[in-house]
């Protein structure tokens, strides 16, 4: 399951989407909104996305991961719109027979998403704002 949504992300949903009787491992990554960046206090931030293309990139990431490791299922969700400190911005869940594949595929998914998914982050500080990459 993949999605880009303005709704709050659900870790329960991610876990339920990938949990399978033949899988002994589920790796779950949650990216959360941090209250600082480069020494500046972050007051709030907002993500925007090219939704259709981002979901296509997520599907590619999931397919590439499934072609590389023996996986049960892959779940990738990213939130857009205004987010508060501590909110989950991205949730990735991967199930596999054993833990090594789940960890590796989950790491691959978040690292690739950060490089390729057409999603932009705008941070707001006490004074000013910035588009933050990487």
């Amino acid at each position: 399951m993949i999605k880009v949504t303005t709704d709050p992300l659900s870790i329960d949903e991610a876990y339920a989407a990938v949990k399978r009787p033949d899988c002994g491992a589920v790796a779950l990554f949650v990216g959360t909104v941090r209250d600082h960046h480069d020494g500046k206090a972050v007051k709030s931030l907002s993500y925007s996305a090219f939704k259709e293309m981002a979901e296509k990139e997520f599907a590619k990431i999931a397919a590439d991961a499934a072609a590389t490791w023996a996986l049960g299922a892959v779940y990738i969700a990213h939130r857009t719109g205004p987010l508060a400190i501590g909110d989950a911005s991205v949730v990735i869940a991967v199930s596999s027979g054993h833990r090594a594949e789940a960890f590796e595929a989950c790491r691959y998914a978040i690292e690739t998403l950060k490089k390729t998914a057409p999603i932009w982050k705008e941070e707001f500080y006490d004074q000013g704002k910035a588009w933050v990459t990487g």
Partner: protein
């Protein structure tokens, strides 16, 4: 040929719009990007391009009805 262009993130902010149309003689992504640059929008070399919903190079051929998007450096995650 008239081509629809979508702008995102900092580029949409710079242009004060998230979409525009350009006219090109040559039906390539590169020609579309050049036409966008001629409107005065500064397009950094770090900007990537998409043809509809896939990344594409400047040489990619644009067909009638296609949408070209300018993808500034991303920051998801």
């Amino acid at each position: 040929m008239k081509v629809s262009v979508r702008l995102f993130g900092p580029l949409a902010e710079s242009a004060s719009t998230s979409s525009l149309d350009v006219d090109v003689d040559l039906p390539t992504v590169g020609a579309v990007v050049e036409a966008v640059a001629k409107t005065g929008l500064r397009i950094d070399p770090s900007v990537k391009f998409a043809l509809n919903t896939d990344y594409a190079g400047a040489e990619a051929v644009v067909r009638d009805g296609d949408v070209v998007s300018l993808i500034p450096p991303v920051g998801g995650g």
